[in-house]
Subunit: 470 residues, 2 copies
C-alpha cells in the first residue's frame, strides 16, 4: 500500500470534481482527484454532450425545413448513422485522454480507482495496482454524481432496461422504445429517437417536464405526438417482462406496451452508497446536505459538490458550486476570510432560486428562476407576463409558422424579474439574458432601456415590459 | 382645403412614427400620422424585414450543412425563387393594409400624403384629395427616416444604381452585382446575393463593418470570399457608366469592375429636405439635433425620432426613442412631471453608449455598447476579454468545426461591462444578455452568479469572467 498527502482530495473526476480541484489548486493548494471510470464524467460521455449530439442533427434539419427557400434543399430525414458517428466524436469515443491531459496541465494529480472515505481527511483508493492511501491536509470533496434510479417495478431489473447511459451511447436505434418517465431525460430521448424513426412510447406518471411551466410540457407533448410518438400521461408502469426478446410493460390504465427496449428515466440516486460515508458518521446512499459553501453540515473538512448534494442536478450548476467550494477551501486552508455572504465568491447563492436550464426538445425549453406555481407557493406577490413568440418580427424571419411562448414572473414588491420560461425553436440562447436580469436584480425601469435588437426573438423583452407598464 | 386639430402630429408612419403616436395616444392625447408612402415604413418593406428574409434561407441551410447527420439530407443550394417568395410574404407584398388596420385599432388617424411643416405646430399635407391643414395643440414629431445616400461619383446617377430598396425588393438575382460600401447593408446584401449564385464584388473604402470590432469585418470578409465573392478594401470608386447594359466602375486601384447591377450602400441621408424645416428656422436636409427626450433643440414643440435625429440609425433604437418621446409629449401636454433624469421613462439614455445591433451576415455579428477602440478613445480604463467560441461545449454540439469569437470590454474603474461583440453562427440571441448587463450596470461580482446553462454558447460568459478573475 502506498500513501500520499495532499491539501485537497476530490472523489469523482466529472466536470464538477475537475473544477473544484482546479479552483482549489489555483488557490494555492495541492490537489488529487480520484476516478473509477472516465475522467470527464457523466456529462461528457453519457449525458449532456452525447444527448445534445443525438438531438442536434434533427434540430438543424427542422430549422431548415421551416423556411421557404431552404426547405426545397432538404430531402429526407436525419441520417442516423451520421448522427451516431457525430455523437461518438463528441463523446471522444469514450476515451478520456484529453481530460487526463487537462488535469496534467492544471497540475492536478489523478488516481484511478474506487475511492472511499476511511475517516476524517482520509481516503483509500482501490486501484488496479493495489490500495492507495490518501490523506488530506484540509478537505475532502465528494463529487461522485448521481446514477439513474431504477424504480421498484416488478420484473424491471430482469428486462435489461436502458438507463440514460444506454440511451446516450446506443450504437443503433431500436425499432421501438418505451420510455418510463417524462422528465428532461425522457423528453429529450423521446425527441431524439423519434427523429431516428424509432416508434417511441413515453409513459409518464404526470405531465411532461413537471416542475417547469405547464405550457412547456404541453408543447413538447404535442410535438412528440406530431412526430409519431405516443405519450401516455397519468399512467404508472406496474410490471415488466421480456417475451420473445421484446419488453412488455403492464400499465395502470390496463394497457400493455411492447417495445424492443425500455429506457428508465424516473429520476436519479446519489452515488454515495459505497464511498465510505459510514466511516465519518454519515449514511451511505444519502444525498449530502451542505451549506452554501458546499461544506457538509456538521463537518469542517468534508465538501459535496454537484449532484450528490441534491441542490440542482445540472452540470453547469455543479460547476458553479465547484468554483465556490474550491474558493472556500482555499480561503479556509490559508486562514483567509471566506467571502461567504450571499452572492460572495465562496458560496453558491444562485442554487436557491436562480437556476437556469435548457431542455433540447422540440420545441426547446429554457427556464430560469421561479415558475408561476413556485412563486405562488413561496407567497410572492407576482405578475405573470405571457407572450406569444409568433407575434415577434424575429420569429417571422426565423421560421415560417413559428410557434412559441415566453413567460416572465415579476416580483411586484421589488419590481424585478424572478422567473422566465421560453418555449420555441432556438430559444436556448435567449435564457442568459433572463438569468442576468434575475441574478442581477435589475429593476424593470432599467430593463426598459435594454433595447432588444430588431428583428430578434429577444424583442419578447420589449413586449413583456410594455405589457407590465401598460 | 380641410383643416383638423390634434394634440400631436407625427410626420412619417414607419415603425418609429407609429410608436410615438401610439405612446402619445396611450398617454391621453389625440394623434394623427402623416405618410406619403407605405404605412410601416422602410423597415417593414425595404430594410430590416425583407433583408432578413433574403438572408434566412441560406443561413438555415448553412446551419444544417454544418452538422453531421443533418448535412446528408441537404442537397444543393438555397432555392432562390422560394426565398424571394418568402421575402414577398414577409414584406406583405408591399401592401400596408395590416398596418393601417393597426393604426385604426390603436385610435390613431392617418392622413396619406406628403406632409410639410408650415410653422409652429402646423403641418400641411399634400393629399390626393387636395391639401389638408393640420394643427397640433402640443407637438409635431418628424419621423421621416433616412434615404440611401448617393455619393458624388461621376456617372453614378446615370447607371440606375440600386439602393437598399432595390436590393431588398428585387424580383430576381442578377448574374453579377457590384456593391459600393462595406457597411451593414453592403455586407448583408453581399451575403444574400452571393448565396443566390450572384457574382458579388464588394468595393469598400476601408474594412468591412467599420465601427465594429475589427475581427467582425475580418470574419465576414473571409466568409464572403469563401463563398466566391470578391471583396476589395481600401478602394474608392472613381467613375461609373453603362456599357452594353452592364455597369462599369473605375476604381482607385486602376481596376475596372463590371457587373449587371451596382448597389450603392455608402450611408444614409436624412429625409428632411422637403418637410418645411425652413418655415420653423431649421435647415432643410439637415439631421435634426435633439435632446434626450427627442425634443429638437431650441424648440419646445418639435420632436424628431428615429433616423432623422442621427442618434442611432436602427429600427429598434428609433422605436425606443419613440417610446420616450411619446411619454415626454404626453407628460408635457398634461403638465405632469417629465421623467427625464438619465434612465427615466421619457428619455433615450441608452442611445449614447448602449446601442445593440445584430448583423445577419455569415457569420452573424452582434454588438452592443463600446468597442475597444471607442472605449480607449473615450479615455476609459478597460480590460479586453477575448474568447474563441469554438472552445465552448455548446459550439461543439451546435456545429462541426464551429468558428467564432466574442469580446467583452470591462470598465475596470467600475467593474462593469461596457461593451460586447459576438461573431459566429447563431450569436444574434446572445446579445440581449450583454445589453442587460451593460444597461443594468450589473457588477461583475454578481454576474459571476449568473450561471450559463450547459451546453449553450452563453458559456462564453463564464469564460470571460474566469479570464477576468484569473
Amino acid at each position: 500500500m502506498s500513501a500520499r498527502e495532499y491539501d485537497v482530495i476530490v472523489i469523482g473526476a466529472g466536470a464538477v470534481g475537475e473544477n473544484v480541484a482546479d479552483y482549489a489548486h489555483k488557490g494555492g493548494l495541492s490537489a488529487v482527484i480520484v476516478e473509477a471510470e472516465l475522467v470527464g464524467g457523466e456529462c461528457s460521455y453519457w449525458a449532456c454532450m452525447p444527448s445534445k449530439a443525438l438531438l442536434r442533427s434533427d434540430a438543424a434539419l427542422r430549422a431548415a425545413r421551416a423556411v421557404d427557400g431552404a426547405k426545397q434543399a432538404v430531402a429526407g430525414a436525419v441520417d442516423v448513422a451520421g448522427t451516431l458517428r457525430r455523437r461518438d466524436r463528441i463523446a471522444h469515443e469514450w476515451n478520456d485522454q484529453s481530460q487526463v491531459d487537462w488535469l496534467d496541465g492544471a497540475g492536478i494529480d489523478l488516481v484511478r480507482g474506487h475511492g472511499r472515505l476511511t475517516g476524517r481527511n482520509a481516503v483509500t483508493v482501490d486501484t488496479p495496482d493495489g490500495l492507495v492511501e490518501l490523506t488530506a491536509r484540509h478537505a475532502v470533496v465528494v463529487s461522485t454524481g448521481s446514477a439513474a434510479l431504477l424504480p421498484d417495478i416488478p420484473g424491471l431489473r430482469d428486462v435489461s432496461p436502458w438507463t440514460s447511459r444506454d440511451a446516450t451511447s446506443a450504437k443503433s436505434a431500436p425499432q421501438s422504445l418505451a420510455i418510463i418517465g417524462g422528465g428532461v431525460v425522457g423528453a429529450e430521448m423521446a425527441t431524439a429517437y423519434a427523429s431516428f424513426g424509432t416508434a417511441v412510447t413515453v409513459i409518464a406518471r404526470s405531465a411532461l417536464l413537471g416542475g417547469l411551466e405547464p405550457f412547456a410540457g404541453d408543447a413538447v407533448r404535442a410535438s412528440l405526438e406530431e412526430s409519431g410518438a405516443t405519450v401516455l400521461m397519468g399512467v404508472e408502469t406496474l410490471a415488466a417482462r421480456r417475451v420473445d426478446g421484446a419488453v412488455e410493460l403492464d400499465l395502470s390504465d390496463g394497457r400493455t406496451v411492447t417495445a424492443d427496449e425500455v429506457l428508465v428515466a424516473t429520476g436519479r440516486t446519489p452515488r454515495t452508497g459505497d464511498v465510505g460515508l459510514e466511516t465519518v458518521g454519515l449514511t451511505p446512499g444519502d444525498w449530502l446536505d451542505v451549506d452554501d459553501s458546499l461544506l457538509v453540515r456538521g463537518t469542517d473538512w468534508l465538501y459535496a459538490t454537484g449532484d450528490v448534494n441534491h441542490r440542482a442536478l445540472l452540470t453547469h450548476q455543479g460547476k458553479y458550486q465547484a468554483r465556490a467550494a474550491g474558493t472556500a477551501i482555499a480561503a479556509r486552508a490559508a486562514g483567509r476570510a471566506v467571502d461567504d455572504a450571499p452572492w460572495g465568491a465562496a458560496v453558491a447563492t444562485a442554487d436557491h432560486a436562480h437556476v437556469p436550464q435548457v431542455t433540447f426538445t422540440d420545441p426547446e425549453v429554457a427556464s430560469v428562476g421561479l415558475t408561476e406555481a413556485a412563486a405562488r407557493r413561496a407567497g410572492r406577490s407576482i405578475r405573470v407576463l405571457d407572450y406569444d413568440l409568433s407575434w415577434i418580427a424575429g420569429a417571422t424571419t426565423l421560421a415560417d409558422d413559428y410557434t412559441g411562448r415566453a413567460r416572465a414572473i415579476v416580483d411586484t414588491d421589488r419590481d424585478v424579474l424572478i422567473g422566465a420560461t421560453f418555449v420555441g425553436a432556438g430559444v436556448g440562447e435567449l435564457l442568459h439574458a433572463a438569468t442576468i436580469a434575475i441574478v442581477g436584480e435589475v429593476p424593470l425601469d432599467r430593463l426598459w432601456h435594454a433595447v432588444p435588437s430588431y428583428p430578434t426573438l429577444s424583442e419578447v423583452w420589449l413586449r413583456w415590459l410594455e405589457d407590465y407598464r401598460g
